[in-house]
């Protein structure tokens, strides 16, 4: 199984680079995964990543993009609850990239 090394510690990932044990996640690992995804993290990026971790904690799944945009709109305001905003932050797919950086599995229903 592939591993990544962050701060002298090894973390297992799947073939696509998603973290295997989400309990191992910390911001340093998130920042490392972001670099691999070529995403430059700003407070707006972290806001989405933290939102996803909370969502996962509540529901034990990574949300589909449609569900993510709706939930973000509800929590963080309509100007953020749309795919344009999220794609600007995570150009290769918010659900996919943001979930990976958040240490979550790939979203169910993500094709």
């Amino acid at each position: 199984m592939p591993t990544i090394e962050v701060g002298g510690k090894n973390y297992e990932t799947d073939e696509e680079g998603y973290l295997i044990n989400l309990g191992e996640w910390n911001e340093e690992v998130g920042a490392y995964l972001a670099i691999e995804e070529k995403v430059e993290m700003t407070p707006s990026h972290w806001e989405v990543v933290n939102f996803l971790r909370e969502y996962y904690n509540d529901y034990q799944i990574a949300p589909a993009i449609r569900v993510l945009t709706k939930a973000i709109g509800k929590k963080l305001g309509a100007e953020k609850g749309n795919s344009k905003y999220l794609y600007e932050l995570f150009p290769y797919g918010p659900a996919k990239q943001a979930c990976k950086i958040a240490g979550l599995p790939k979203p169910t229903g993500c094709i």
């Binding site: 680079g17 691999e36 034990q60 799944i61 993009i65 945009t69 795919s83």
Partner: protein, 140 residues
Amino acid sequence: MGAEMTEATGGIDFEDEEASGVVKKFMFVNRKAPYGTIYALEALEVVLISAAFDQDVSLAFLDDGVYQIIKGQHTKAIDVKNFSPTYRALEGYDIEKLYVEKESLDQRGLTEDDLLVDVQVMSSAEMAKMMSEQDIVISF
């Protein structure tokens, strides 16, 4: 790693996909206990995926299937993931038709208060009628 692959498959957004027009009534019937077999978890995944296709989706819980949505599930001792919180996410996926057979609850000494999501409890006869009105019934 990854970058090329995500680029190739990224950017798919269900929101922007036009529905093909035909909306069918799908009912997913859950009859088995949540753990011990893979049926409950598989059904839940299929339901979540089906939500992307703008169909009329409902879930029915009968027999031991009612245990899938019971409150206070603890799975540590059997070393499997407790996926019951995911049923509470269904609302966010616009899946709000959850039907539970009253007889199945009664036989197990359960009531609606024991369940972790809002459901519509109905008699066996009402459930049968509901099933007969579906285009597609998939049983797990």
